[in-house]
């Protein structure tokens, strides 16, 4: 046994929040199987433990015959430094074993700004950073998660990357790895075997071609499919979501148990990557949601259950689910919560049902300030909807509302930006009208504005992100148009959005930048106080990669893109049609209400939309 605890414990007295490193939580499993999987989340414990996918995969791997899954989080800077000084390698929480001793290391790709932490984890583990430098003694490094749809910026760090849903794929990956190993296969042979698993992308079997410094496409080497098609779990009710999740002692970001009610969203917002890559829509039935929510609460002891998805209010049986759950939970102090709401009357009704006496604040995302621009992005929300919803909420006693907007959307003019300020003004006045005079002082409209970052596999994947000086100019236009009293305006850091743009649409050359930034000290860039743009500027300079050429350049629609060999199911032709529709300010309906619009996802192994009942538009 290579239990490192006796060497870890002496470090704990000198670090912040030792509770991050002690394991022993309710629901943690301590098997001792022959095949070991380390599941790494590239951020600290309290962020990673709130991630539902990690809990799902922990359960799925752990349920496989003779497989043990253990959790790994990136130690905070103080602990990482102490570990390096004491020569303690990165360890799994459950058995305190070196991560390098596991058979497979799964690393989540939740968000672009966690990429340098992948290198921090591999380095602490003593595993070579790049796939090409690993030997038969090193574990297999497999990635997966939301960012896998453009894997190129991190491709050299991984032996394999799963594209799409992991629930069933993990069994196939383990089986392929095991049987190849049992046959005495070399590392290269193991990778070729993995490339035959549906949804698995093996970067070393693909070569980006560059001519005159310009990317001209990716070639699949022998034995690798030309296109890697994402994996889809066709029916969410066909498997049992974990109800006995690991319950952290530490207060984590979302201190509640999550039950996924549906996957995918077909509303078709043209800026939204999740809406494109997680199709088709798969609802779970009310019965199984209620059953799992009840079981999860019993097993974990949480006092809140969150019904999660990209768009929970779209679930066709949501009202029934809420009615049944709130009835069951009456008098127990246990609550139900929803992660996001739509802009409509139904949402206020739902919020009333959930909130009881609590009226904390409602959040809506109109995204753009004018109807024209909302039509461009296919955000099917009218000003009337928004004003009506806000009026209902404030009549029902809410005094705070938060609105999300973006600047830098394709075709945006200064008029659209000023439109945000005007819309906010009208929202405020509408809310004020239905608020008793004595309570008007407590009214608050929070406005949160981010910069649009074009993402791969969306109709806007070809667009230029607006450059930083233009972001500042447009922010100034916005500030001038914003009514002052009662409105709190906040911006998402524009340097972060710029970097996110580079990391999300870059090609393989960006891997060198990530490595240089990490070597220059970049860790935990997703934490506002840790993010230093200068580290990245130096890394771009050192590697000779022009970040503006990636983020701020408009692409021709027939240009090869670094993610062309990865298919999310939505066809390129559909994305082009949607792009044309955007520029003509033509909207496209949601296929779960109005019939198929031809995106190309449904059919073959990817299934079709599954609705538990009739949806209300």
């Amino acid at each position: 046994m290579s239990d490192l605890w006796s060497r870890i414990e002496p470090l704990l007295a000198g670090v912040e929040r030792p509770v991050r490193y002690i394991d022993s939580e309710w629901g943690a499993s301590h098997d001792d199987a022959s095949y070991r999987v380390a599941l790494v989340y590239p951020d600290v414990y309290e962020i990673g433990m709130a991630n539902q996918a990690l809990q799902i995969l922990y359960g799925r791997f752990g349920a496989l015959e003779d497989v043990t899954a253990e959790r790994v989080f990136v130690p905070w800077k103080d602990m990482a430094d102490a570990m390096r000084a004491a020569d303690v390698p990165l360890f799994t929480l459950e058995s305190c074993r070196p991560v390098a001793d596991c058979d497979l290391v799964g690393i989540t790709l939740p968000y672009e700004l966690t990429y340098q932490n992948i290198l921090e984890a591999l380095d602490l583990a003593g595993i070579p950073l790049r796939s090409c430098d690993r030997t038969d003694d090193d574990p297999l490094i497999v990635g997966g998660g939301p960012c896998a749809f453009n894997p190129e910026p991190v491709a050299p760090f991984f032996d394999a990357i799963l594209i799409g849903d992991g629930e069933d794929a993990v069994a196939d990956i383990v089986a392929a790895h095991r049987s190849a190993k049992a046959q005495g296969a070399s590392r290269a042979e193991i990778l070729r075997a993995l490339a035959r698993v549906q949804g698995v992308y093996v970067p070393s079997l693909y070569e980006p071609r560059v001519s005159d410094g310009i990317f001209v496409g990716t070639t699949a080497l022998e034995g690798a499919p030309a296109i890697v098609h994402k994996r889809v779990l066709p029916d969410l009710d066909s498997y049992r979501a974990p109800t006995c999740t690991v319950v952290p002692f530490m207060d984590v970001v979302h201190d509640r148990v999550g039950v996924e009610v549906l996957r995918g969203c077909a509303r078709g917002c043209r800026f939204c990557q999740a809406g494109m890559v997680y199709r088709p829509v798969r609802e779970r039935s009310a019965d199984s949601i209620v059953r799992d929510a009840t079981a999860a609460l019993q097993c974990t002891g949480y006092d809140d259950v969150s019904l999660t998805s990209l768009s929970t209010a779209d679930h066709s049986q949501l009202e029934e689910v809420l009615r049944r759950l709130t009835r069951r939970l009456e008098g127990t102090g246990v609550t139900v919560s929803l992660p996001s709401l739509r802009v409509d009357a139904f949402s206020v009704q739902v919020a009333r049902l959930l909130g009881g006496g609590k009226k904390t604040g409602l959040t809506f995302a109109p995204e753009a300030g004018t109807q024209r621009l909302r039509d461009v992005i296919n955000k099917n929300v009218t000003e009337e909807d928004l004003l009506r919803t806000v009026t209902q909420a404030f009549s029902a006693g809410w005094r705070r509302v938060k609105l999300y907007f973006m600047i830098g959307l394709p075709t945006e003019t200064d008029e659209d930006i000023a439109g945000i300020g005007e819309l906010v003004g009208r929202v405020f006045r509408a809310a004020r009208e239905v608020t008793p005079p004595g309570e008007r002082g407590g009214m608050r409209v929070a406005v949160s504005v981010s910069t649009f970052v074009p993402k791969a596999h969306t109709p806007f994947q070809w667009e230029a992100q607006i450059p930083l000086d233009e972001v500042r100019r447009r922010q100034a236009v916005l500030r001038d148009s914003m009514p002052g009293k009662g409105v709190d305006l906040s911006y998402h850091d524009s340097d972060v959005s710029f970097l996110e743009g580079v990391l999300s649409r870059g090609g393989r050359e960006v891997a060198d930048v990530i490595e240089a930034a990490w070597r220059g000290g970049a860790r935990f860039d997703a934490w506002t106080e840790e993010f230093k743009p200068s580290r990245w500027s130096l890394a771009f300079e050192e590697t000779g990669v022009d970040p503006g050429g990636i983020a701020n350049r408009a692409r021709r629609v027939d240009e090869p893109l670094p993610w062309d060999h990865i298919s999310a199911g939505v066809s390129r032709a559909y994305l082009r049609i949607e792009r044309d529709n955007a520029f003509a300010a033509r909207t496209t309906a949601d296929c779960t209400f109005d019939g198929c619009t031809g995106c190309g996802v449904c059919g073959s192994s990817r299934g079709a939309n599954i609705l538990a009942g009739d949806r209300r538009g």
Partner: protein
């Protein structure tokens, strides 16, 4: 006084916070115990008001890193559950390091844990042998003879009257290369003396070499008419 409106049953739980779980903060202990009570399926009482929550109360908080072998909480139940059954339910819903040791129903009129538990016993283990033991004994006597101890905590100075704060002389014993200090501390109205602070003061005074390896609160007691008793 119960604030719940109907008859409730006050279950007092002695629990331990030990092993790796000594690194939990007080708030984490509170939340974890609440979750354990819900997992146990006990008919816990809920406070009324806008955000209803489980009704329970804790004894004095333990800092991160300090273990406790006899810690207390009071949990109010809506209906009676035989105490042995409640104990088993709680135990099977708890992690080994944060688990009930004994439970008992107590009368509603009994004072709250916060005000009743005024005597705390600690064990501080240090790395060091006989020389350390002799040095510590000398330092403790000298400190006590002065009558007062000033302690810096988070930038503020607090002065403890030792005659009242230390109702018993510290007891120092050595076994091999480990020295154990047994301390009994009276928890005053304005906070209590942290055992590490007293031991560190003794180390400094005697210019002694000794690293604190662990701190454990072994007992909490109720002081009544000059004598001490178990809160259960």
């Amino acid at each position: 006084m119960i604030g719940v409106g109907e008859t409730t049953f006050r279950l007092r739980v002695r629990f331990r916070k030990a092993d790796r779980l000594r690194y939990l903060s007080h708030l984490e202990v509170v939340h974890s115990c609440e979750r354990a009570a819900r997992r146990a399926g006990l008919p816990y009482a809920v406070t009324q008001g806008f955000s209803p929550h489980m009704k329970l109360a804790f004894g004095p908080a333990l800092p991160v890193g300090t273990a406790g072998l006899g810690e207390y909480l009071d949990l109010w139940l809506r209906s009676y559950v035989p105490s042995e059954q409640a104990f088993q339910a709680l135990r099977s819903a708890s992690a080994a390091g944060l688990a009930p040791v004994k439970v008992k129903y107590i009368a509603e009129r009994e004072p709250s844990l916060g005000s009743a538990l005024t005597i705390a016993k600690y064990e501080v283990v240090l790395e060091g042998g006989e020389a350390l033991r002799e040095g510590l004994r000398g330092s403790f006597s000298a400190i006590i003879a002065e009558g007062e101890l000033a302690v810096d905590h988070k930038g503020k100075q607090k002065v403890f009257e030792l005659a009242s704060t230390l109702p018993k002389e510290p007891d120092v014993s050595t076994s091999g290369e480990r020295t154990t200090v047994g301390l009994t501390v009276r928890i005053g109205e304005r906070g209590s003396l942290r055992p590490e602070a007293l031991v560190t003061a003794a180390l400094t005074r005697g210019a002694l070499d000794g690293r604190i390896a662990s701190v454990t609160r072994t007992e909490l007691l109720v002081e009544e008419d000059g004598s001490w008793r178990d809160p259960l």
